[in-house]
């Protein structure tokens, strides 16, 4: 037997020469390792593509083509215009004259009429009239007007609209683009930062240029207030019970099973719950941030409970024994010693749970936070909770579902804002963890 084994022994040769079989095995090893690298690169590649397409498509939402024209209104001109029958037409003519002289001064010669200006800039006449009626003291001094260009003109600068694809309509005609080019050459049309996008409200379906995300940010804010106010105390209380007090019995098991299953229930099902219980059954107002907050609370609770329990578990038993040893009650031990020590971890988990809730869309669609509802800022705190409003992700969905491609840019822009919020929250969570993390 010994001899047989000696004969079949595979490697009698020197250790330093690699035999053929080992070479093959090492090649397989290299291949396998390569699969891993490729897999990771694929993942990172997707991340980069995602980031690039968000940035490339979203950044234009933050700029807006606008006409910047310095304009002096004399008292005679003002009185003259006010005395006419078509007052805004008179103001528009004044504006056109000013625009024409500005173009001539730059040595550019283009023909255009009032209708073209209306297609480019909307009702300039009434804007100017309202300004001077409100600020009569500005008459006689040069005033710079910044007038937002219509969304098609804006799209022309951003490459969404081109001479080849443009079909003449009441919104824009191909011939108008000559004027636009001339204005751009003269430096009258400029790209300016679009504050309206950040602070404004949603706009009607044919005005993508005027759409802003500001109101739905407020909607999200009120929703997050509800989520924070409910899920933190309830989540912490539930975790304390389960981690510190719960006896081993069927009831505790039932709670545990429920929590772990709720964590994996699809978010849309929570939307159905919200619709059936909060709106159909309790008659709470539809589309209200309060209801959205309640639904998101129920959805976030399992996440918060799981992370809170982990933080409580990380506090070593010796701390509890020390407190009990000096005669503290179980409740005092938990609230005076365990909870403060676990607080940083609980806070981190809560912030991450909130960030998750902030990005959640599907349940909000079912409770009616979709469509043209983020129209105006709420009037007060109560109105902020119960008046119909949208939320950031629901607003983005609303824009993505509209037919006008001009809204897509807004949707991407909205995503940038949403991601900035999420990134900030996660950064705070990471910093908290780094700063206060305690290793026992």
């Amino acid at each position: 037997m010994t001899n047989a084994s000696m004969d079949s022994a595979p490697m009698k040769g020197s250790l330093t020469t690699v035999d053929a079989r080992t070479k093959k095995r090492n090649a397989a090893e290299k291949r396998f390792r390569l699969y891993g690298i490729v897999a990771i690169l694929i993942g990172l590649f997707f991340l980069v593509v995602l980031a690039v397409s968000i940035l490339r498509s979203g950044i234009p939402a933050f700029t807006q083509a606008e006409v910047r024209l310095e304009f002096t209104m004399t008292q005679e001109q003002f009185d003259d215009a006010e005395s006419q029958l078509l007052k805004t037409k008179a103001y528009q003519d004044l504006f056109i004259a000013a625009l024409q002289s500005e173009l001539e001064a730059k040595g550019l010669d283009v023909e255009f009429d009032g209708e073209a200006i209306e297609r480019l800039l909307g009702k300039t006449g009434s804007t100017i009239r309202e300004y001077f009626k409100e600020n009569p003291d500005q008459i006689g001094t040069p005033v710079t007007f910044n007038l937002a260009a219509s969304s098609r003109v804006d799209g022309y600068f951003k490459g969404r609209v081109s001479r080849d694809t443009l079909v003449d309509s009441r919104f824009l005609e191909v011939s108008d683009l000559d004027l636009v080019d001339a204005l751009a050459d003269a430096g009258i049309i400029v790209q300016a930062f679009n504050w309206n996008f950040i602070t404004g409200s949603d706009s009607g379906v044919d005005n993508p240029g005027g759409a802003g995300i500001g109101v739905s940010v407020i909607g999200s804010f009120f929703m997050m207030l509800v989520v924070l106010a409910l899920s933190l105390p309830i989540g912490v209380a539930a975790s304390i019970y389960l981690e510190e007090f719960a006896p081993q019995n069927w009831f505790t098991d039932l709670i545990e099973v429920n929590i772990s299953n709720l964590a994996a229930v699809p978010s849309i099902v929570f939307g159905i719950l919200g619709l059936a219980v909060f709106i159909q059954f309790m008659h709470l107002p539809q589309s209200a941030p309060l209801v959205g907050g309640l639904v998101l609370t129920l959805m976030t609770l399992p996440t918060i409970i799981i992370s809170t329990r982990a933080s409580l578990k990380a506090v070593p038993p010796s701390i509890r024994e020390a407190a009990l040893g000096v005669g503290a009650s179980k409740m005092q031990t938990v609230f005076h010693h365990v909870l403060p020590l676990a607080a940083p971890g609980i806070l981190t988990g809560t912030i991450i749970g909130l960030a998750q809730a902030l990005g959640e869309t599907a349940p909000l669609l079912l409770i009616g936070m979709v469509g043209f509802i983020a129209r105006a800022y709420p009037e007060g705190v109560v109105s902020g909770f119960i008046d119909p409003n949208s939320a950031m992700p629901a607003q983005i969905y609303t824009w993505a579902a509209r037919a006008d491609a001009g809204f897509y840019e807004k949707a991407w822009g909205g995503i940038i804002i949403l991601l900035i919020f999420l990134l900030t929250m996660n950064l705070i969570a990471i910093i908290l963890r780094r700063r206060f993390e305690r290793r026992w």
């Binding site: 229930v265 159905i272 992700p393």
Partner: protein
């Protein structure tokens, strides 16, 4: 908001009880606080707790119960003859409620006085006119029976809330009185308060059960309602999905099979993308990567998991869809009609699931004991042989569990399919066709102003029920496998 005031009033009573009980026990103890059983604050808390908690409990129960009572009384009072011209009692009740809301609005806007609003002999036509003028949306002419029912509804509600206010305040005061009265130095206030806190903690933990119960009940009730209007066998075995849009026509085909097929097809495409990439990433990160690579690549991949699904939805609709069309569309291979398709949604969902699969598998691979690897290395196995023949077989149950969890995620995912998969329900094998899923149809049937009593809206609850049962089954099974696997190595 009178409700808010009532709430604040109860809190104020509780606060007063706290202060009184605390000073009472301090006065009783004289100079020596050590004669007290508990710290003075516990005596205060005891009184506050006894005043606030029962009162608030009654308030909540009352608020939930009263609408039922009022509805049933009003419903009984409506004569059957009034129902004939509308379709059902529940629709008529909804109209009654709208009319009552309208009257409330008119009263608060000053368009009519409270006495006018309650006048049983009020003329129906002038009433309608006043309501329309006040801006209350009245769909049509109010009938006499609706008006009187609405008036009765208002009166009942009014009295109900008045009795509730008195009852709640009385309970709060009685609780406060009891709490203050039992305050004596030898009273074990701390134990009682702690018992109370314990009950609160249990209540908080029970919310998980209540949530599940709420989900199940709201699904079951509405699903049963749906099956009363639409045969269950047609729903489960129908191969055609074509709801009529009028909301009233009975010509809807509501078969779930095309939706289930779309759901599974998209999920399978997603898993085909996510499982190999996620699994190999996990293997590389846990077995090969240097700490530096791991510290960089792992969080980077996890960023993919932190991105909201609406972002992926938009990515599918506006980036991946057009990209696929340019390759597989009419100008390329001609397989694809539009950007929304199974492939689009599946691919993007796969990207979303990569970190999910990889971090779960990473945990599971790391749980395989090092001794197992050493045993294999000691026999002269290469690292890949060790992974393929020892580590992966050992981790297999856990990895299967992780994949099942990912599948349940994919099946329940909504935003990506709403935006990326299309709206047409179809039983097709071509992955470049647009298809739709259970979740996408839940959204489309429940958004908009559809009437919740129609089968077209109620079907969403039956879809939700199906979704809930499937994902719950997958989760329970997957968690069971993973737990069994963990126990094996503990």
């Amino acid at each position: 908001m009178p409700l808010l005031w009532l709430f604040l009033l109860v809190l104020a009573i509780a606060l007063a009880a706290f202060v009184l009980a605390r000073s009472r026990v301090l006065a009783m103890s004289g100079q020596d606080r050590r004669t007290l059983h508990s710290l003075p604050n516990y005596y205060g808390s005891n009184a506050a707790m006894k005043s606030a908690i029962p009162a608030l409990l009654v308030l909540v129960v009352w608020l939930i119960a009263q609408p039922f009572y009022v509805n049933s009384v009003v419903s009984d009072a409506i004569p059957d003859s009034a129902i004939a011209d509308t379709s059902s009692r529940s629709l008529l009740l909804a109209e009654v409620r709208r009319a009552a809301d309208g009257i409330d609005l008119a009263v608060s806007a000053g368009a009519m006085t409270e006495a006018e609003a309650r006048d049983p002999d009020a003329d129906v036509e002038t009433m309608t006119a006043t309501l329309t003028e006040a801006g209350a949306i009245v769909t049509s002419q109010i009938t006499q029976s609706v008006l009187s029912a609405a008036q009765q509804f208002r009166v009942l509600n009014d009295t109900g809330y008045r009795i509730m206010t008195i009852a709640v305040l009385l309970i709060a005061a009685a609780g406060a009185f009891w709490g203050i009265k039992e305050t004596r130095p030898d009273f074990r206030a701390r134990n009682v308060v702690e018992q109370g806190i314990r009950v609160l903690l249990i209540a908080a933990a029970s919310i998980a059960i209540l949530t599940t119960l709420g989900i199940v009940l709201s699904l079951v009730f509405n699903t049963v309602e749906f099956f009363r209007l639409y045969p269950a066998s047609d729903f489960f075995f129908g191969t055609n999905w074509a709801p009529s849009f009028s909301g009233r026509g009975g010509a809807s085909d509501l078969g779930i099979l095309p939706l289930l097929w779309g759901t599974f097809y998209i999920s399978i495409v997603a898993l085909v993308v996510a499982v190999p990439v996620g699994l190999f990433s996990a293997i590389y990160l846990s077995e090969y990567a240097s700490p530096k690579v791991r510290a960089f690549a792992k969080p980077m991949l996890e960023v993919l998991a932190g991105i909201p699904t609406i972002v992926y939805g938009l990515f599918a609709l506006l980036t991946v869809g057009p990209l696929l069309v340019s390759v597989f569309g009419d100008e390329g291979l001609g397989w694809m009609q539009a950007g929304t398709a199974v492939m689009t949604a599946g691919l993007v969902m796969g990207i979303m699931l990569i970190p999910f699969v990889s971090s779960l598998s990473d945990d599971i691979i790391n749980a395989v004991p090092q001794a197992m690897r050493d045993g294999s290395y000691g026999l002269g196995a290469t690292q890949s042989e060790t992974i393929r023949q020892v580590v992966l077989p050992a981790a297999l149950p856990g990895i299967v569990g992780a994949i099942l969890l990912a599948a349940s995620r994919a099946i329940g995912e909504t935003m990506i399919v709403v935006l990326g998969a299309g709206a047409a329900a179809r039983l097709s094998l071509n992955p470049f066709d647009a298809m739709t899923t259970v979740t996408a149809k839940i959204v489309s049937q429940l958004t908009g102003d559809s009437d919740f009593a129609s089968p077209e809206a109620l079907v969403a609850f039956a879809l939700g029920m199906t979704l809930f049962v499937i994902t719950l089954g997958l989760n329970v099974f997957a968690l069971y496998i993973v737990r069994k696997y963990r126990e094996q190595y503990e």
